[in-house]
């Protein structure tokens, strides 16, 4: 496995947890930040801080420039045609809610259908459920196969003239499955449905080209891709954004206001009510530069290598460990959710914590998927650019130790 040699860029990697080196394996939940991003945030507050789009003075101009430059960087990062197609939100969840609220209320009628999958994060389920409750539309699901891939055999029947939205995750945060989104988007577009991709696990780990995908809307979060918390992105096709009603109302999103009416700005500002999170967005721009320097193809290759290594090592453990999701690395990202027979995920995670290994245990905000897998929770390790072979080795050693500790109970 080629070392990315970026680990030393991440100050937190020097931390000790219970006197052991930090082995951070929960990047699917949130990523760690390189020093350049941490410094950029502090520098911004030290040197450039002023509200954006307001003042005719130097600081405000600098602040606005940093904010709007980040928009251009994000647009280039996913190959959007224009930065005006990039809306800043708080996170993926808000981006998806924005769609359900603003597009959904204008375009969805009673009896219409929204098609999603059972491997969605709650944030790509609940906004649609709320909409369906309000309007009386229907939520439908593409099935999943045993191996954690989508069953597309009946996709043509599932996408009907009643289907108004097809929304699914680029990559599952539990199974690691990378879905064939291009193929599904094409079918959705052809049927006249809105195509929406939850890119929370896509943009951080895979090269994304929204023009090639021909996707209508693509959502993701900065905090999962080396950026600060509190910044989300919603990319949209120009014709969709310009026709879409606003989401929240207030300052920043308006053009003219009278006592009885108002006009809005153009997209994307139409969707950015109130003082935006400009300091974090400016730092996010630096995170994008950092990822660009590494190259997303290299990020992806590193994750293929480390995940393959981890899968091989887990397989060597003399226990009946179930690893969920596809085994073919062409369609799997750096997520490894597993079941250790007889040892509850909480106990697995607690054991590992003593060894400095930070993994996730729980339902991963995907309760319907857990039910399909027949478990109430799983333990999950997930990888990113700063993880190396030693991390996997420490994870495996700790897993073996845990198995021995709870051993009697699990046999």
């Amino acid at each position: 496995m080629k070392d990315m040699s970026v680990r030393s860029d991440f100050p937190i990697m020097d931390r000790l947890i219970h006197d052991k080196p930090l082995t951070y394996l929960d990047s699917a939940a949130t990523s760690q930040k390189p020093a350049v991003v941490i410094d950029a945030l502090a520098d911004f507050y030290r040197n450039n801080n002023a509200n954006v789009h307001r003042g005719i003075y130097t600081l405000s101009e600098e602040s606005t420039l940093a904010y709007e430059t980040a928009r251009v960087k994000v647009a280039n990062f996913i190959n959007a045609g224009s930065e005006e197609q990039i809306i800043f939100t708080r996170n993926t969840t808000e981006s998806l809610n924005l769609i359900a609220y603003a597009w959904g209320r204008d375009n969805i009628k009673e009896g219409d259908e929204i098609l999603i999958t059972p491997m969605e994060h709650h944030s790509n389920m609940i906004p649609w459920m709320l909409l369906c409750k309000e309007i009386g539309c229907k939520l439908k699901y593409i099935s999943i196969n045993e191996d954690g891939t989508l069953d597309l055999s009946n996709l043509d029947e599932l996408i009907s003239e009643n289907t108004k939205i097809v929304s699914l995750t680029h990559m599952s945060n539990v199974l690691g499955t990378i879905n064939p989104i291009k193929q599904i988007i094409e079918k959705a577009n052809k049927a006249g449905a809105l195509s929406v991709i939850d890119g929370a696990q896509g943009a951080p780990h895979l090269p994304v080209d929204v023009i090639d995908l021909d996707v209508d809307l693509y959502a993701f979060s900065a905090h999962k891709m080396l950026g600060p918390t509190g910044v989300g992105v919603l990319y949209g096709k120009e014709k969709i954004l310009s026709a879409m009603s606003p989401f929240l109302g207030g300052g920043e999103m308006i053009d003219e206001v009278y006592e009885d009416r108002f006009t809005t700005k153009e997209a994307p500002w139409k969707f950015e009510a109130g003082t935006p999170n400009f300091a974090d967005v400016a730092a996010f721009g630096v995170a994008i530069d950092y990822l660009d320097d590494i190259g997303m193809d290299n990020v992806r290759q590193h994750e293929i290598d480390i995940t393959q290594y981890a899968l091989d090592q887990v397989r060597k453990i003399d226990r009946d460990i179930t690893v969920f999701g596809p085994k073919n690395l062409d369609i799997r990202g750096g997520v490894l959710a597993f079941d250790f027979p007889g040892v509850h995920p909480h106990d697995v995670a607690q054991m590992m914590d003593w060894d400095g290994v930070q993994i996730r245990a729980g339902h991963h905000c995907a309760q319907p998927l857990m039910r399909r897998l027949g478990v109430s929770a799983t333990a999950r390790a997930s990888f990113y650019i700063y993880n190396n072979q030693e991390d996997v080795d420490r994870f495996i050693d700790s897993l073996k130790k845990g198995g021995e500790f709870f051993g009697d109970a699990s046999r």
């Binding site: 909480h346 109430s376 929770a377």
Partner: protein, 145 residues
Amino acid sequence: MMPQDEPKFDELYRELILDHYRYPHNRGVLEKPDVDMQQHNPVCGDEIRLTAIIEDGTISQIEFMGQGCSISQASASMLTDRVTGLELTDVDALSVEFRNMLRGDDPDEQMMQDLMALQGVSKYPVRVKCAVLAWDTLQKALKLK
């Protein structure tokens, strides 16, 4: 920020807890119980069901079923041992004392007896829910009666 005094591994997973987890006591479902209550912890999916027979204001028999982590299942097993034969008013007092212990208070050791083994859980805020799940279930069950 490090916690002030590092909790030790074996303060959480005491041998007694592991014993109850591996070989649970009173595991099952009673036929024709006077109370039958199930609760789960939505965060981690731990589940406990308690069935009990109550005679003259005293728990004469109690069994648990469930699934979940070692702490939740061991706590349920220990609960069944501890409350069998207790009057309901004593169960109530014990339940309060147990919760206080998990909140970090110094417990009455004579009252707690074996339950002292769960004291270490109080240093792990996210695991406290696991330890009290069986007690929550019992309280709900008794109030409903």
